[in-house]
């Protein structure tokens, strides 16, 4: 991570940390939403940005995580934050099972299948799957999370929980990007035939991209369930998948700071222009179209070279 980027992250962290001092509860809640979408977009970025797999059903993984946490909490009285890793694991397993048969599909074909997957999950939830998901009413009465005996209720408390998780995710995903694993995903995006020909097990890494992305979306889902205390299938509609997809593409596919900026623009801006009422979606759509023509790589595109000069040993020893 470059020094400039680190300074940028710290500035944003301090700024968000101070917002409860001068913003009212409504705007703090908007920031919480931005954080949740940033988490979803970061997790989708592993699949769509790093590995280049067109996946437009991310709400399905989000839903599996949220419902797993909600069911564990309401039926077994498991504290909701304890359910977080289990929700991640459940979503990861679900991701592995649904992705396995379809990952050999390319581009738009994969896109269509993943849209279908998202819809199947939503409809299964509406149909009260196994008598556990509560049909279209969803699940309510999810317990408030508590951290070291401190019960979280107010938006500013959730702000710190959500953005703390964003910070942790950014830290871990930067490490991932600069590793054997991250580079393997990048080779998939660049040229699958060359990746396989260079010794990368492409089928395995495509699956791993889905598993990692799903795990993070699932954990985010459990935080969402904890914050809302009530979840229903309509929170996990096709539209949610589209929004997260747009955040990644608009912000800059493959770029971690880009994706976070994307979340602010896509989720935050429409709130600022709420005064324009029904016209705001019109402007939003127009902005998207202009963007695709003028700057298709996104606002903060991936800085291509992640491996720094300092990481490469000087000239000398023969292989």
């Amino acid at each position: 991570m470059s020094r400039r980027l680190l300074a940028g992250y710290l500035a944003v962290a301090v700024l968000i940390g101070c917002t409860p001092l001068f913003l009212d509860a409504y705007w703090v809640d908007v920031l919480c939403n931005v954080g949740l979408y940033a988490l979803l977009a970061l997790s989708l970025n592993l699949i769509l940005g790093d590995a280049g797999l067109f996946h437009m059903g991310h709400a399905a993984f989000y839903a599996v995580g949220a419902y797993t946490a909600a069911i564990l909490n309401t039926r077994l009285q498991l504290p909701i934050l304890w359910a977080l890793p289990i929700a991640g694991l459940a979503a990861a397993i679900f991701g592995a099972i649904v992705a396995r048969p379809v990952i050999h599909l390319r581009g738009d074909y994969l896109l269509i299948v993943t849209i279908g997957m998202g819809e199947i999950v939503r409809i299964a939830l509406v149909n009260d799957l196994g008598g556990l998901t509560g049909g279209s009413n969803g699940i309510f009465g999810i317990g408030r999370p508590s951290l070291f005996g401190w019960k979280l209720r107010r938006p500013d408390e959730f702000l710190y929980l959500i953005w703390g998780f964003v910070a942790l995710t950014v830290f871990l995903f930067h490490r991932l990007a600069q590793s054997r694993f991250g580079r393997a995903l990048n080779t998939l995006r660049e040229d699958e035939v060359a990746a396989e020909g260079s010794g990368v097990d492409t089928a395995r890494y495509k699956l791993m991209a889905f598993v990692m992305g799903a795990a993070w979306a699932g954990m985010t889902g459990s935080i969402y369930a904890a914050k809302m205390t009530i979840i229903s299938p309509e929170s996990f509609s096709f539209w949610e998948s589209v929004v997260v997809f747009v955040i990644v593409i608009l912000g800059g596919a493959g770029s971690i700071p880009g994706v976070i900026l994307g979340a602010f623009l896509v989720i935050g801006l429409p709130e600022i222009f709420r005064g324009l009422a029904s016209y705001r979606m019109l402007f939003f759509g127009l902005a998207l179209m202009v963007m695709m023509v003028v700057r298709p790589q996104g606002f903060l595109p991936l800085r291509p070279v992640r491996f720094r000069e300092a990481d490469v040993p000087p000239e000398g020893a023969a292989p």
Binding site: R175, S179, R180, F181, E196, A203, R306, F307, V312
Partner: protein
């Protein structure tokens, strides 16, 4: 002693076209072998059969006594066969050193969790991989361009980078598909030196090439294909004199008449 790579009656059919028809030849350990023939003779198809990009419709291919049938490409790379591509296939948006690091992938093992926790073993592995990648870039003469994006390199340098990526996989056999394609005379001369230095490392080389001067200078053994079948095999001198080879390249008297 059996050869490093043994191809026996390898056959590949595309629809009604037999692209490779019962082709057999050996590549002995430590040799530089050339595979030549007119356009469409099936040379690249033979390469794709060896590397597992295509499934053979008949015949056997054994590497170091082990059948390659049914193995996926990355497994074959792991066994020790690396390749370059006729139409350069680099990771265009990645830097040169990252391209070579991709070749180290199959010889390293750290997973996602180790990367996120930066475990000591993962850090050591990353450092060693970086050292090796830098050394391979030096070997092909691209150390100074380590940070350049692959797509910004010149055509000849892109070919060299592909070779460096292949060498990073610790191969016992490298397969070069038209390595001199698009190179000028000087670059080709340099390439011959590079191929000899690869051989000096104990790595066996199998190459497809249209540049006859390179093939005749560098190869100890030549296999000639025409219409998917082997029409000649042997050392350069013998192949040059072979009547069928001359006919394949220049046409027969009847055709000229």
């Amino acid at each position: 002693m059996s050869a490093l790579l043994e191809i026996r009656e390898a056959t590949k059919v595309f629809g009604g076209l037999t692209a490779v028809n019962k082709v057999s030849f050996d590549v002995k350990q430590g040799q530089i072998v050339g595979l030549i023939g007119p356009n469409g003779a099936g040379k690249t198809t033979v390469f794709n059969l060896i590397t597992g990009n295509y499934r053979a419709d008949g015949g056997t291919i054994t590497f170091d006594g082990r059948s390659l049938a049914g193995l996926r490409t990355h497994r074959i790379v792991q066994l020790g066969i690396a390749r370059t591509f006729q139409n350069i296939r680099l990771f265009q948006q990645l830097s040169a050193v990252e391209n070579v690091l991709a070749g180290r992938h199959c010889r390293t093992g750290a997973g996602a969790l180790a990367a996120m926790l930066r475990l000591p073993g993962q850090r050591r592995e990353e450092r060693e991989a970086a050292e090796r990648a830098a050394a391979e870039l030096s070997f092909v003469g691209l150390r100074g361009q380590a940070m350049e994006l692959a797509r910004n390199l010149s055509y000849g340098n892109q070919r060299k980078l592909e070779i460096a990526r292949a060498l990073a996989t610790d191969p016992r056999l490298v397969i070069l598909d038209e390595p001199a394609g698009g190179m000028n005379e000087n670059e080709t001369e340099e390439l011959i030196g590079l191929i000899r230095r690869i051989q000096a490392r104990g790595i066996t080389v199998l190459l497809i090439e249209h540049d006859m001067s390179l093939v005749m200078k560098a190869c100890e053994n030549i296999v000639v294909l025409e219409y998917g079948a082997r029409i000649a095999m042997g050392p350069p001198e013998a192949v040059k004199q072979d009547r069928r080879v001359i006919e394949a390249y220049l046409g027969t008297d009847e055709e000229l008449a």
